[in-house]
């Protein structure tokens, strides 16, 4: 039930934002535009660090896997390849331990 309430809220704010822009005819303040530019950067970064450690005490090798993801993401910009690289490095490092 909570899920569907949450979903309804998500739909409301998403559709609201999309509709408001098409309906309004005005300029946003420059500070808002700059703020919005940084929202995905801040939110994505916030979703990385807290769950990087994991619950099984494998923090170090998980971070090494994450570094592999960064390297591949810089080169390919492919989401799938970047995740795969990180997971493969992590699983390879996991074997000896």
């Amino acid at each position: 039930m909570t899920f569907w309430l949450t979903l309804a809220g998500m739909v409301a704010v998403t559709f609201g934002s999309r509709y408001a822009g098409l309906a309004l005819r005005t300029e946003l303040p420059a500070f808002c535009v700059r703020f919005l530019h940084f929202v995905p950067i801040a939110v994505f970064a916030a979703l990385v660090t807290p769950s990087l450690d994991g619950d099984l005490g494998e923090g170090e090798i998980r971070v090494v896997g994450a570094l592999a993801t960064v390297v591949v993401a810089r080169r390919t910009k492919s989401l799938g390849l970047s995740i795969a690289a990180g997971m493969i490095v992590f699983w390879l490092l996991r074997i000896p331990f």
Binding site: R18, F31, F44, V48, L56
Partner: protein, 208 residues
């Protein structure tokens, strides 16, 4: 697939793609559901991530004539990618806009279904270390966005802030605090610089 690992059912996962239809917000919501964030935190984070569509709407509203039923329809399917494609056309029509929107909508929903079926078939994700897919996915989304020094500063600051806040609180609090704090820092660091159209279009391609 990520949503299934977060404990959402196949129907719930698909519902996100069908009704919300916003990639970054869906990924983020899945991550937040997994950490046990409250509904309010998830909705607020979605709002933070999707308010940028106001910008696209403002620009598109000037390019394409949309009245009556066409406006809500065009709005529902509006995404970064659609704006990226349509805004580069000289005289886009409603038909062109809707075509771009629907082709993306169908592709996105089919891949959600595929990922959902695969994700649900994996028995014990955490033991296999599959929970690492979460941070890696967001890292892979983040890296292409970071191109200037200020963006790097904001990313590092946000990562550190979220890590610290997560030690003291749980659920969606670190994401909400960091989303607002990191963005404020970025806006403050770039104050006084002109906001050109080119930069806005860059932002779209990055997020897409």
């Amino acid at each position: 697939m990520i949503a299934r690992d977060a404990g959402l059912s196949l129907v719930e996962t698909q519902a996100l793609s069908l009704f919300v239809f916003a990639g970054s917000a869906q990924f983020t919501a899945a991550g937040l559901f997994a950490t046990g964030a409250t509904a309010l935190e998830i909705v607020f984070t979605t709002f933070l991530l999707n308010v940028r569509h106001v910008l696209y709407g403002l620009a598109l509203g000037r390019q394409v004539r949309l009245d009556g039923w066409r406006r809500p329809v065009a709005a529902f399917f509006l995404t970064d990618e659609v704006f990226g494609v349509v805004s580069t056309r000289r005289a886009p029509t409603f038909g062109y806009l809707l075509g771009a929107e629907l082709s993306l909508f169908v592709t996105w929903n089919l891949s959600t279904l595929g990922g959902g079926l695969i994700g649900g078939a994996i028995p014990d994700p955490t033991k296999l270390g599959l929970d690492l897919v979460f941070p890696l996915a967001f890292l892979a989304l983040l890296v292409p966005l970071v191109r200037t020094r200020v963006e790097l500063v904001v990313a590092l600051f946000s990562g550190a802030l979220a890590y610290v806040v997560a030690q003291m609180s749980s659920g969606g609090v670190p994401i909400v605090v960091t989303g607002v704090g990191g963005s404020l820092l970025g806006a403050w660091l770039t104050r006084g610089r002109p906001v050109e159209q080119a930069r806005l279009e860059d932002a779209i391609r990055e997020v897409a």
